[in-house]
């Protein structure tokens, strides 16, 4: 009886020792040397794994940062400049500030200004709808309103407004990761600089049709009339294929183009409410 117990203990211990030795030498032989800094950088990053940086996730981005000589071209949109500064400080390199960006919806054709010409009753997906036809309004470029951008957003920052049928961006939550830009089959959403104190001006339309056709399909379409281009003192506005585009690096936020636009296709965001001129005149008279 005792011999059996002793024999069992001895044989199992021996077996454990032999296997432990094999494991130890195998682990030594095939050891993967990894830079310990990768782990540290990863803890600095926000850990959203959104892929907005262009890497597969935060770990891959951390690896990219550690391996790269400088941080040029590497940017975490979720963490922004603060996070990048921390990463740069840890790695002992310098990093230039990048202007914070925000997703901008370049379609303002709501249910009133852009009437429906057909009813879509298929699967609720912009991608499927765009695959089938040009859309349920006469505008071939405009928002399809099925909400692929809302589904793609990891941060709950873009929401469909049922009243207008258009998506709206919550700029506090938007991290400019670019997921909605990729999800939109009509390429309506663009990442633009947030601007000083969030003030920005952009053309909220991507209709490339001739003025008459665009105007017929949507009351607030850009008709390519070049009025904004003429009024702009900073050469920030270019017009190609009947569509105006404002370069956010050149725009000085003077807002002249906003007043000039005959179809109200140019939007200003986060500016103080402008008091119409005639009303002020009336007030003075009183």
């Amino acid at each position: 009886m005792t011999t059996t117990i002793i024999f069992t203990i001895a044989s199992l211990s021996l077996l454990g020792l032999v296997l432990a030795l094999i494991l130890y030498f195998t682990a030594q032989k095939f050891k993967v040397v990894e830079d310990p800094r990768i782990d540290d950088v990863e803890t600095i990053l926000p850990g959203a794994n959104c892929g907005g940086c262009g890497f597969a996730g935060c770990r891959a981005f951390a690896e990219g940062c550690v391996k790269a000589d400088s941080l040029d071209g590497l940017f975490c949109p979720v963490g922004g400049n603060d996070t990048m500064k921390k990463v740069a400080g840890y790695l002992g390199v310098t990093v230039a500030d990048k202007a914070p960006q925000v997703a901008v919806v370049r379609c303002n054709g709501n249910c009133d200004s852009r009437p429906k010409s057909s009813n879509y009753d298929g699967y609720t997906s912009c991608a499927v709808m765009a695959n089938l036809y040009s859309g349920d309004t006469d505008c071939r470029y405009g928002c399809l309103g099925q909400g692929d951008c809302e589904i793609s957003c990891d941060f709950d920052a873009i929401k469909m407004n049922p009243r207008t049928g258009l998506p709206e961006v919550d700029e506090e939550k938007c991290t400019a990761c670019g997921a909605c830009v990729k999800a939109c089959p009509k390429f309506i959403i663009e990442l633009r600089n947030k601007g000083p104190k969030g003030k920005r001006i952009f053309v909220s339309c991507i209709n490339k049709d001739k003025g008459g056709v665009a105007k017929k399909a949507c009351a607030v379409a850009c008709i390519g009339c070049t009025k904004c281009q003429k009024v702009c003192a900073y050469d920030a506005i270019t017009i190609s294929s009947n569509l105006a585009y404002i370069d956010y690096n050149k725009c000085k936020l003077c807002r002249k183009c906003v007043v000039e636009c005959p179809t109200n296709a140019i939007w200003e965001v986060n500016f103080p409410v402008r008091v119409p001129k005639r009303e002020t005149a009336d007030v003075e008279q009183q």
Partner: protein
């Protein structure tokens, strides 16, 4: 016992309510809108300018590239514009707009009613003639016929299979031409047999068209012994070329393969009629038979209609838009395309204008998959639609390719049988497009 294809298939109610309506000529419209993109492949290049006078049957646009087809004027009159106009899906396509003045046909076209039986041309002359006359497959895909009739080097056709199945519900245009022009179809078939150098042809007709089978069989037993009429069981999608080859010859087209890989070329009976008219009568393809039908309509019609007729004028001819019609479809209810713009014009391969009521077309809310496998049973390609749907929603492109999403023929059988109303076809079609795009961008081995 009639033959049919081996796997999958569904039995929708055939609703062929326009069978008794004989083909009548549709009045020539005031303005014709002739699309430059009526075929698969590159759009044709217009060779007329604004203000030019054109005759019916005159060449107005040349094929542009290898897969493309010539386009002829369907009316006589003056070219009033060459401009971008929306097609039925609202996408802009270049159109030649012709203001109609009278109806003067090109002198070369033989308009006599006699049937020309003797085939004088050599195979290469036939193919050149077909290419000149801009014949495209009238089964739906509108693939240029002359390319189908010239198999790639190293591949030889053994049989010609003619598709007279017309498995789509509602459509009767092929049935009417088989009934009214059977001999022309058989001569057209024989012309294509000469062009391909094959000795035997089969015409597959579903057994819900006994009159057409009888008419064709009688003619074949008399003077067209090399063409065999095969009666097929009624089952959708029998008209798909892979299904038709399986049904008639029992051969399987390999994955991503073409019918020619099994030594078969498939053509539609409508194409045969167009080939006959082109080769024997010198008449280019500028008109075709269009069924205008729907349960909500008081009368069902089969029209011989010029290319470039707007859907609006078709509706006008049958007495306007019925009150309970909810959806317009160009083609059959299973694979046809919804008409989003009624000002769009018909093209060569337009086979029907179908009006559906709300009851027929309304989608029910989507439920959960209950793993009943009805879609697997229904899929004529042996795929697993429920799995493809899940993979496609998850965006797993590699797994989609491994599960052969690229073989989907988009027949819609899975969507038809699904008790949970899952939009299987919509999601599968979307992922099929992205998988095919990736497969094509790979370097060829």
């Amino acid at each position: 016992m009639s033959k049919t294809f081996s796997i999958g298939g569904i039995h929708p109610k055939d609703n062929k309510i326009s069978v008794k309506a004989a083909i009548e000529n549709f009045p020539v419209m005031e303005t014709a809108y002739i699309s430059m993109s009526q075929h698969l492949g590159a759009p044709a290049e217009p060779i007329v300018a604004k203000g030019d006078k054109v005759k019916t049957g005159q060449l107005i646009a040349k094929a542009n590239g290898f897969i493309s087809a010539n386009i002829h004027s369907s009316v006589s009159g003056t070219v009033s514009a060459i401009e971008l106009m929306p097609d039925l899906a609202g996408n802009l396509v270049q159109h030649v707009v012709v203001k109609v003045e009278g109806d003067e046909w090109d002198e070369k076209i033989d308009r006599s009613p006699e049937i020309v039986r003797e085939i004088k041309l050599s195979p290469s002359e036939i193919i050149a003639k077909i290419a000149d006359c801009g014949i495209v497959g009238l089964g739906g895909a509108a693939f240029p016929t002359h390319i189908k009739l010239s198999p790639p080097p190293g591949k030889k056709a053994e049989f010609l299979v003619m598709n007279g199945a017309e498995c789509e519900p509602y459509l009767t245009s092929d049935y009417r031409i088989m009934l009214e022009n059977p001999e022309e179809i058989l001569i057209g078939t024989r012309i294509m047999m000469i062009a391909l150098g094959v000795k035997k042809a089969y015409v597959g007709i579903e057994d819900n068209k006994p009159k057409a089978i009888k008419a064709m069989k009688e003619l074949c037993s008399k003077s067209y012994r090399d063409i065999k009429i095969v009666s097929l069981q009624k089952k959708y999608p029998q008209g798909g070329e892979k299904q038709l080859i399986d049904a008639i010859l029992g051969r399987q087209v390999p994955s991503m393969g073409l019918p020619i890989d099994t030594g078969v070329v498939v053509q539609n009976v409508g194409t045969a009629l167009a080939v006959y008219e082109a080769v024997q009568k010198n008449k280019p393809l500028f008109e075709g038979v269009v069924t205008v039908t729907g349960k909500c309509m008081t009368e069902q019609r089969n029209f011989r209609m010029r290319v470039g007729t707007t859907f609006e004028s078709m509706l006008f001819a049958v007495g306007g838009f019925p009150k309970d019609a909810e959806k317009l479809v160009s083609g059959g209810p299973m694979m046809g395309k919804a008409v989003a713009r009624i000002e769009a014009a018909s093209v060569k391969s337009t086979s029907a204008l179908l009006l559906l009521t709300e009851e027929e077309t309304k989608r029910k809310p989507e439920g959960n998959c209950i793993r009943c496998a009805k879609c697997v049973d229904a899929c004529p390609m042996g795929l697993e639609p429920f799995l493809l749907n899940r993979l496609s929603r998850a965006g797993r492109i590699d797994d989609l390719e491994a599960n052969l999403v690229q073989d989907c023929i988009e027949c819609g059988s899975c969507l038809y049988v699904c008790p949970a109303n899952i939009p299987l076809l919509d999601t599968i079609r979307l992922s099929k497009a992205s998988v095919l795009k990736i497969m094509r961008s790979r370097p060829k081995k």
